[in-house]
């Protein structure tokens, strides 16, 4: 006779719910807290190293490019737009002579100046009159502000000023290499050079420039002088040095200030947003750090795999019992997989926290602004979980292969 009140079990299918799987796996993980701590250690270190190195890389790169910006991110150039005309490239518009003055009215402009190459009609440039020493030295024209805008440094003498420009004086500044080639190395004796048979007084020699290094090869005269003597029609390019951080703003305002009627016809080159520059630097810095963090993670993953495998061997009788009470191979495999996934996730969570704290801590000590991509901090625990799952694959397979007979016979 059967027991009274006995019911057959419901048979809605044999899959256990996800909640049960998680519950069993969590209980399995929590049952051995000291082992859990040791197992997660590898992942904690790996993820912490990864997060801290990326965080510190981003932070450090932020500081590096702040310094960079001071030089690189303050240059704006304005050129007339060009199009393909019937005779090759044709300028659509011209820069006005007073473009530097127009620009200097804008807030955020430190200095501005124009530049042009000058066609001297084949006249030779010589260091002494009527000598045989002929050089093909390019001739350029500059407004007085150009030198400051390009960060020019002098090895001797001075640059020409507004007065020289306004009068169209026959004065020149020599680039460093142009001076070498013309045999002029000092200006205190007021040397002259000759273009064709016109004499020009050398008032200064350049030592270096931040940009437009072609000036170092050139003989540079004032704009008005070039216009009066050689018929220069218009400046070719406007060079602007801005205050730190104003480059993008000036880049937008400059065409309107220079040519209010046709601002669209001017080509403006402004530095990229600071972020994009920073990213490039960060990428280089992070490459090495990432490799180190990845190595730490690999070790962490191997640690999880090792301990989970040990755990499988230790819990053979538990596996046998679960099989006896109706667990299929997939249930057993699933449980060990989820357990190692949880271990990895926990390691990733703790490691991510440690990494963020380390980034902030170092930043405080070094007086930096900590920069950290929030997505990194959020993705790190998931990465840990994924590593745990991968690491648990082999132990889980081993667990599923345990025969309940052998498992229950032992112990």
């Amino acid at each position: 006779m059967r027991r009274p009140g006995r019911q057959r079990l419901t048979r809605r299918g044999r899959r256990m719910t996800l909640r049960d799987l998680l519950g069993e796996a969590l209980a399995g993980v929590a049952a051995r807290p000291s082992r859990l701590a040791l197992t997660t250690l590898g992942t904690v270190l790996g993820i912490a190293a990864l997060v801290a190195t990326i965080g510190l890389g981003q932070t450090a790169a932020g500081q590096i490019s702040d310094r960079f910006d001071a030089v690189a991110a303050t240059r704006v150039t304005v050129e007339p737009g060009e199009t393909d005309g019937p005779d090759g490239q044709v300028a659509l518009t011209q820069l006005p002579w007073d473009a530097p003055e127009r620009l200097e009215r804008l807030a955020g402009v430190a200095s501005a100046g124009t530049f042009a190459t000058v066609d001297v009609g084949g006249d030779p440039v010589r260091g002494v009159p009527y000598g045989t020493q002929q050089q093909t030295v390019p001739v350029a024209a500059a407004s007085p502000g150009l030198f400051e805008a390009l960060g020019a440094r002098l090895s001797g003498g001075r640059v020409f000023d507004e007065g020289h420009d306004a009068r169209g004086d026959a004065v020149v500044v020599l680039g460093r290499y142009a001076a070498d080639r013309l045999g002029i190395n000092r200006v205190d004796s007021q040397p002259s050079i000759f273009i064709g048979d016109r004499a020009f007084t050398v008032i200064g020699i350049l030592d270096g420039v931040d940009y437009r290094s072609e000036l170092q090869d050139s003989v540079i005269m004032p704009m008005t002088t070039a216009s009066e003597l050689y018929g220069l029609e218009a400046p070719e390019v406007l060079e602007v040095r801005t205050e730190l951080g104003a480059a993008q703003l000036i880049g937008r305002q400059a065409p309107i200030a220079v040519d209010p009627n046709n601002p669209d016809l001017l080509d403006v080159t402004a530095p990229p947003r600071p972020g994009s520059l920073r990213d490039n630097v960060s990428a280089d810095v992070n490459g090495l750090f990432l490799a180190l963090g990845g190595l730490a993670l690999l070790v962490g993953g191997l640690g999880i795999a090792n301990v989970t495998l040990l755990s499988v061997l230790e819990r053979v009788s538990e596996i046998g019992l679960r099989r006896a009470v109706g667990a299929g191979r997939s249930h057993v495999a699933g449980q060990f997989l989820v357990e190692s996934g949880i271990v990895g996730f926990l390691g990733g969570l703790i490691g991510s926290t440690v990494g963020v704290l380390a980034t902030v801590g170092v930043s405080v000590v070094r007086d930096w602004t900590p920069l950290l991509d929030i997505r990194l901090a959020l993705a790190a625990p998931l990465l840990g979980g994924a590593i745990g799952l991968v690491a648990g694959a082999y132990p889980a397979w081993r667990a599923s292969a345990v025969e309940p007979i052998t498992a229950l016979r032992s112990g």
């Binding site: 044999r14 719910t17 049960d20 538990e318 019992l321 679960r322 006896a324 009470v325 109706g326 229950l408």
Partner: protein, 231 residues
Amino acid sequence: MTPPVVEMSGVGRVFPGPPRVEAVRDVDLTIAQGEYLSIIGPSGSGKSTLLHLLGLLDRPSRGVYRLDGVDVGTLSERRRTRVRGERIGFVFQAFHLLPHRSVLENVELAMVYLRVPRKERTARAVATLERVGLGHRLDFDPITLSGGERQRVAIARALVAQPSLLLADEPTGNLDSGNAASVLDLFDELHADGLTLAVITHDDGVSARAQRRVRIVDGVMSDVASAGVIA
């Protein structure tokens, strides 16, 4: 009429080896519903193999095994696992309780893989633990319990899924005589309630409590006269 719980005919199990071992030979065994059977034999006699065959932990090499009238020899591994979970309750010599899990959780485990709803699980586990006299130990860790109490937890775990057959393998092997007696008393009560039991043992005292006894020696099974004395 309902079919017998266990119906084995001509069942054999051969381990190909080497060396080739014929652990169980040509066993015909029927266990009717509500029957209390003991299988007795010395170690190495094939009784463990018979236990595994009965418990669907192993497949017979030949012969037919019907459980509740269903030929389980032809079922897929998945179906056999499910039938095992639903229809067989195991009690082992070594208890096999999970450490660090409460007594209640250990009993609930038998229903986790059978998709019994959670609330029902807890209610049934509590009721079954009360039935075996452990209603006051629900939240204890098994490692703090005495051997007799542990075996009662294991019995509660075996019973909670309401199996067709309770299969006990040397259930008193790890117990002192007092605890062993109380476990055997519990078996008597369960039998009186209509449960079908098969107890595998080498201990005459244990097997003597059963309604019917069979002996297995060198893989061959023979009936023991219920009143007979084992030589």
